[in-house]
């Protein structure tokens, strides 16, 4: 017995390794492949701009008026928000929750009321900073200069570009070639000590260019003042580990472990909810169809398998074999599609609704107490997907049942039972059947898995808003947190399910020995 336990312990120990490898593969694939959330957002914005929908994709600060989507600052902010600015291994560790991640949450008003003096003081510091900034802006405008970070820039306008003629010709050419040459352009610009924002070229200003001390000196002094006041504001806030951004909002900043190990699956991009919450909201549907599909399979396959075994090579066996083969040859979703065409009220009979988990008015009926109507409606919506799930596992289950029963019919103990004069019925149903059910019962270990996973295909065909459709939609819309959360839960359930079913098998069948 102890050998068995070491076997299971070893397998349990392998679970985390497997888990990390799988999640890392998928994480890396998601990160490497182009078309992430930011691209999605930009596409949406572009589409909105093209359709002149007005205000589409709003709510994100720093939007550039250009059709190229986001400007670099906003893109960087978003990248930081989605944790895409880190290298893949680091980001993976942060996602796992074994490496600290910087998280920001807004400071609430209630929190601020707790210490009015402190907040008044910080407001004052903020005002000072704002004033310094305004002064700086004003003098920059006067001097036709720009500010980027902590350097003063001169904007190279079209007129100026004639002055820098040789240098700009290549830049203009690269710019007109479009986005594909963007990296080359950036390389050229950085060599020339220039930068590009939107379609403006900029470069740090030298005293010589600005005509000596004049306006640049003033700007530089005010820049120092501004930086100073900003720094003193941050210093004032830092004991509470709060940061202020340049727009005047305050954030609690935590550099803490926050990943799936801590139960933080991230926020879904499409639902704007916690990914785990979204997934849990799909559990009832999955459990419903999981249970129904499981029960239906058992109720059909076990009796069928038994009668096929007892009538082995008889007419009944041959006739149902055709059914079994057909079941094996038809994928579940194809069976659903076929049923919907035949019974969905198109060209043939109108017996079942075309899809959905329930009718739209179901909740209303329930509140009005029309329970019978609710039940009938639910059954009507269940029939087609249930048939699909049944077809999916019908053939293999039936054959498994039949073969395992046939195996047992050949065993010595059955012959002994016959020899001591028991009736055929008793031998089959009491002696042989109990042993033949073992391989099927072992599948119970995957019970959890069945509850979790809905089939992509069947849910898409029958339009059931369950786990499968959620997975499909999140892949289409590149909703990373949900994709990864589904992956994590699915993999964990399957891995433990495998071990669990082997364990059950070992427990109910003493002949099984794992080493």
């Amino acid at each position: 017995m102890s050998g068995m336990w070491t076997y299971f312990t070893r397998r349990l120990l392998l679970v985390p390794v497997t888990f990390f490898v799988i999640t890392f593969i998928v994480y890396a694939v998601l990160r490497i492949t182009p078309g992430g959330p930011i691209e999605q957002l930009e596409n949406q914005m572009r589409a909105a701009a093209a359709g002149e929908a007005g205000g589409g994709g709003g709510g994100i600060g720093g939007m550039d008026g250009e059709s190229s989507g986001l400007d670099e600052k906003a893109r960087d902010e978003l990248k930081a928000y989605y944790n895409l600015d880190q290298p893949i291994p680091l980001a993976y560790l942060q996602w796992l929750g074994v490496y600290p991640k910087k998280t920001r949450s807004p400071v609430s008003l209630d929190y601020r009321r707790g210490d009015p003096d402190f907040w008044q003081q910080s407001q004052q510091l903020w005002n000072e900073f704002r004033e310094a900034e305004n002064r700086l802006q004003q003098s920059l405008i006067d001097g036709e200069l720009l500010l980027s970070g902590d350097t003063i820039l001169i904007e190279v306008t079209a007129a100026d570009r004639i002055r820098f003629r040789e240098e700009t010709i290549e830049a203009d050419r690269l710019l007109s070639d479009g986005v594909s040459r963007r990296s080359q352009l950036n390389r050229l610009l950085s060599r020339l000590d220039w930068s590009l924002s939107g379609s403006r070229f900029m470069r740090p200003i030298t005293d010589q260019e600005s005509g000596g001390a004049g306006i640049t000196a003033v700007c530089k002094r005010q820049l120092l003042v501004q930086e100073d006041s900003y720094r003193s504001l941050q210093q004032h806030l830092s004991p509470l580990s709060i940061e202020a951004n340049r727009n005047g909002s305050y954030y609690h900043v935590k550099n803490a472990l926050s990943g799936i190990l801590q139960g933080d699956f991230g926020r879904s991009f499409t639902y704007n909810k916690d990914a785990l919450t979204v997934i849990i909201s799909k559990f009832p549907i999955s459990i419903y169809f999981g249970l129904i599909g499981y029960l239906a399979t058992w109720l059909v396959c076990i009796p069928l398998g038994i009668s096929k075994a007892t009538h082995h090579r008889g007419t009944f066996d041959t006739a149902t074999s055709v059914l079994v083969f057909l079941g094996y040859a038809t994928p579940g979703f194809v069976a659903c599609l076929l049923l919907l065409v035949l019974l969905g009220g198109g060209s043939y009979w109108n017996l079942v609704p075309l899809g959905g988990f329930r009718s739209a008015d179901w909740n209303q009926w329930w509140q009005q107490g029309q329970y019978l109507r609710c039940v009938i409606d639910q059954i009507e919506h269940t029939l087609v997907p249930m048939f699909g799930y049944l077809v999916g596992s019908f053939a293999s289950m039936t054959v498994l049942m039949k073969n395992s029963l046939l195996d047992n019919f050949g065993a010595d103990y059955v012959r002994t039972a016959f020899a001591k004069g028991l009736t055929e019925r008793r031998v089959i149903y009491v002696h042989a059947l109990r042993n033949s059910l073992i391989p099927i019962t072992a599948g119970i270990g995957h019970f959890l898995g069945l509850l979790f996973a809905g089939s992509f295909l069947i849910e898409k065909v029958c339009n059931i808003p369950g786990m499968g459709l959620l997975g499909y939609d999140s892949i289409i819309s590149r909703d990373y947190p949900i994709i990864l959360a589904i992956l994590v839960i699915g993999v964990l359930i399957r891995l433990t399910g495998n071990i669990f079913s082997d364990l059950i098998w070992a427990l109910i069948d003493p002949r099984i020995r794992f080493k």
Binding site: V26, T330, F409, G410, V491
Partner: protein, 570 residues
């Protein structure tokens, strides 16, 4: 006639597959100096397999259909097998065949035939359909044109003689004829010359066609899997024209009464009327045809959609869904509600107007070919890995086992969907993805077990002891003795790979959109589930029949290679 030819082709396919290919295979091996000795055990197994009738017949059907389908380009195609005009000959469909099998599309053979070379003036690509029409009826096609030209020439001659007479009269009167009169005469003479030349040319071409110098050989079925059946965009799918109870839409005809003043959604509308007292229906699609339903339809001019009906049901307003380029709907044109049997699209068209027959047939080839590729490549990798694990054992075995355990837990459909959502996978990429992610692991464990057992046997030890290299021991000695579980599993794996391809195509993560595939057809059927059941029913039938036959093969193979002795109780 076509039916007989089809039977002949199928018979040839069966003969080729069952006799020809094994013979060729043996010949090729013989030339290479390899002689396969079938062991008595294998012979017995093969005999047993043949004796299981349903499995063996399925095997013959599936393999023969697949070999035949390799020649689909010359059997089912919208390009002719051969065209000849004088001493110009071209083989467009044969070129397609070569492109598919040697160069995998867009090969050096994908050139078009210049229409000027085949008697139709112009430098553009030859329109095979109109070439075929002329071959079938040269006088009918050329007659009206030649007649017109001849009439033109006659009137020109008349004009010339008139002008000549006028000039002659003027000269006779002693007056100088005006310059423009002479110029006119000269111009008319040049025109006449040209016209006569054209008539002569036309006559020569007509003569060529009429005297049988031009000919065309069509494939058995004249529509391909890539081209829209009608050049009327936005109106497909269309229902089948073959009468299949329950699938074929109801046939009814109507008549075009005249154009309405009012527009509907910016499109012109027409007044349509019922014929023979058959009432019109709202939402009915009506083909505007040229010619007569009884005498054969020469062209489809456009498609109308019935929008409003008079209360009596005998008249209605229809909007133009699509109108052929440069086509005008004549007064009293006949309208029919679907493709006719005389003007066939027997199984309807897909949502891009492509005939379903070639789609199903080419889809069969793609699916079976895909499954075979995945199976073959997966077996090579899987057998190699399993052999190494079982033969060497120890750490290699343990490490590879762990690797397989981990790799096997990767949710592969999920991963393929993620990858396919970004890069549109090609046929080969899908094969590689499926092999790498899944199929190779299917048999590795079994092969490992077999090798483990066989390695302990005396004959292997003897081989090793006599200094045979590891590789040779594995391939020559152990492998032939451990193929049974692998072979008996193959058909079932095959089924699952076809299902995987159909599922991926259905979800839109499979083959490129131009490739014919059953899964995409199913997806289209899903879109039009209430209106066009043929798009679901036909591919489902094709899929179920194919897979059913393969499962039958699988059962028979299992019975033959891996028989179980069951107690029958009594």
């Amino acid at each position: 006639m076509t039916f007989l030819l089809t039977l002949l082709v199928l018979a040839a396919g069966v003969l080729l597959t069952q006799k020809g290919i094994p013979w060729l295979f043996r010949m090729a091996l013989g030339i290479c100096g390899i002689h396969i000795r079938t062991s008595p055990v294998t012979k017995k197994r093969l005999r047993r397999f043949r004796s299981i009738r349903r499995g063996y017949i399925s095997f013959v059907i599936v393999t023969s259909c697949f070999t035949t389908s390799m020649f689909l380009e010359v059997l089912v195609n919208d390009r002719p097998v051969m065209i000849r005009y004088g001493d110009q000959t071209a083989y467009p469909a044969v070129r397609d065949l070569f492109n598919t099998w040697i160069f995998f599309k867009d090969g050096p053979f994908s050139t078009f035939d210049r229409s000027g070379d085949f008697g139709i003036p112009g430098d553009g690509p030859l329109d095979y359909k109109s070439f075929g029409k002329i071959v079938a009826d040269p006088l009918g096609e050329f007659g009206p044109i030649a007649e017109g030209r001849r009439n033109d020439a006659k009137s020109l001659e008349q004009e010339i003689s008139d002008t000549q007479q006028e000039i002659d009269e003027l000269i006779a009167d002693g007056e100088e004829p005006e310059d423009w009169l002479i110029e006119d005469l000269q111009a008319a003479r040049i025109d006449l010359q040209k016209l006569r030349g054209q008539i002569a040319e036309l006559g020569a071409i007509e003569q060529m066609f009429a005297s049988g110098e031009a000919s065309i050989i069509w494939p058995l079925y004249r529509h391909g899997p890539y081209k829209n059946r009608l050049d009327l965009p936005g109106t497909a799918p269309h229902g089948p024209s073959l009468t299949i109870p329950g699938i074929t839409p109801r046939y009814s005809s109507a008549i075009l009464l005249g154009k309405n003043e009012q527009l509907l959604g910016g499109r012109p509308t027409y007044q349509v009327g019922a014929v023979d007292g058959q009432p019109l229906e709202k939402g009915m699609k009506l083909f505007v045809i040229e010619g007569d339903t009884d005498e054969g339809i020469s062209d489809v001019l456009g498609i109308l959609l019935v929008r409003d009906i008079h209360p009596d049901g005998l008249q209605g307003t229809a909007e133009v869904l699509s109108q052929g380029e440069g086509k005008i709907f004549p007064e009293k044109a006949q309208l029919v509600s679907r493709f006719l049997e005389t003007w066939e699209a027997p199984l309807g068209t897909s949502d891009s107007g492509i005939d379903v027959v070639p789609l199903l047939l080419y889809g069969f080839r793609v699916s079976v070919g895909f499954a075979l590729m995945v199976l073959g490549a997966g077996y090579i990798v899987g057998i190699l890995a399993g052999a190494i694990m079982g033969y060497y054992g120890g750490w290699t075995d343990i490490l590879l086992q762990r690797f397989i355990e981990i790799w096997g837990s990767v949710p592969f459909l999920f991963l393929i969907m993620i990858i396919a959502n970004i890069v549109d996978p090609s046929f080969w990429m899908l094969v590689i993805l499926l092999v790498v992610l899944r199929s190779w692991m299917a048999i590795t464990y079994q092969i490992r077990g077999e090798f483990y057992r066989e390695k302990a046997r005396d004959y292997v030890q003897a081989a090793i002891g006599s200094g045979v290299s590891d590789f040779k021991v594995m391939i020559r000695h152990i492998l032939p003795n451990s193929m049974v579980p692998v072979i008996s599993r193959a058909p079932f794996s095959f089924v699952s790979y076809i299902s995987a391809l159909v599922s991926l195509d259905f979800l839109g993560f499979g083959l490129p959109p131009t490739d014919p595939s059953w899964g995409r057809l199913l997806n289209q059927g899903f879109q039009f589930i209430l209106i066009y059941p043929h798009l679901v029913l036909l591919p489902v039938m094709a899929l179920a029949i194919t897979l059913f036959l393969v499962v039958l093969i699988g059962e028979a193979v299992r019975e033959a290679f891996d028989p179980k002795v069951f107690s029958r109780l009594r």
